[in-house]
């Protein structure tokens, strides 16, 4: 199990290699990527920021929970921060397991928990030049003040 908060582009191939194991019959990868539209607005990029120490700690906790719940040590979670352009990878989660069902469940568990608990924020940059902090609890972007 390994987690990281990085500034540089995420090397997905290396992560897949990291969980490769003779005892694994299934590997799942989840990638979050920056898309061009959110709430009907044209997005140009997203600036991710974090409470870094706590974000690492929460990622660690989630990773350990996944290891315990799903029964594999092969869980790697990497979140990128900084300015990301369209199609850039913001998060990569990779899990390998003897069986496919827990491999898939573990990746889903991790992404859902990350979205609930890890202190990372994003400010969307729109094509029209404006920027807004995204507030998922309001179901839409919070107006910039």
């Amino acid at each position: 199990m390994r987690v990281a908060l990085v500034q540089a582009p995420i090397d997905v191939t290396a992560m897949l290699e990291e969980v490769r194991d003779r005892a694994s019959g299934a590997t799942t990868l989840f990638l979050g990527t920056v898309r061009d539209v959110n709430d009907g607005r044209s997005v140009e990029g997203i600036d991710y920021s974090a409470y870094e120490g706590m974000a690492r700690r929460e990622l660690e906790t989630i990773g350990r929970e996944a290891v315990e719940r799903f029964g594999t040590e092969h869980v790697v979670i990497v979140h990128r921060i900084g300015y990301l352009a369209l199609t850039d990878i913001s998060i990569a989660i990779v899990v390998s397991h003897a069986r496919r069902s827990p491999a898939m469940d573990a990746a889903r568990y991790v992404i859902e928990e990350v979205k609930k608990r890890v202190p990372i924020w994003k400010r969307e940059h729109y094509v029209d030049g404006t920027r807004e902090w995204v507030d998922p609890t309001r179901g839409h972007a919070e107006a910039r003040r």
Binding site: G32, Y48, S49, A50, Y51, G53, M54, A55, R57, H79, S90, I91, I111, V114, K115, K116, R117, V118, P119, I120, W121, K122, R123, W133, V134, D135, P136, T137, R138, E142, R144, R145
Partner: protein, 81 residues
């Protein structure tokens, strides 16, 4: 009087115009007291009624104690992933 540093992030940092504020701690201070002091400081800027708060990088409740050596942070709605 002892004080504690309160970290602010993202929309909250922008709203309050600072990435941290120092607030004084009364005797037996709790998270709710710290929040109250930040609210007073911030003047017209409103924080939500019950924002998430972390003490020493862990989520805390309003009743958790706060001492001078703690690191307190007010956590805007998270949007990672």
């Amino acid at each position: 009087m002892p004080s504690v540093r309160v970290l602010l992030f993202a929309s909250y940092a922008e709203a309050l115009g600072a990435s941290s504020v120092d607030v004084e701690l009364g005797p037996s201070a709790r998270v709710r007291d710290v929040l109250e002091s930040v609210r007073d400081r911030a003047g017209t800027v409103r924080l939500p009624p019950s924002p998430l708060v972390a003490v020493n990088e862990q989520y805390a409740t309003l009743d958790d104690p706060v001492s001078e050596r703690d690191e307190v942070a007010i956590i805007p709605p998270v949007a990672g992933g």
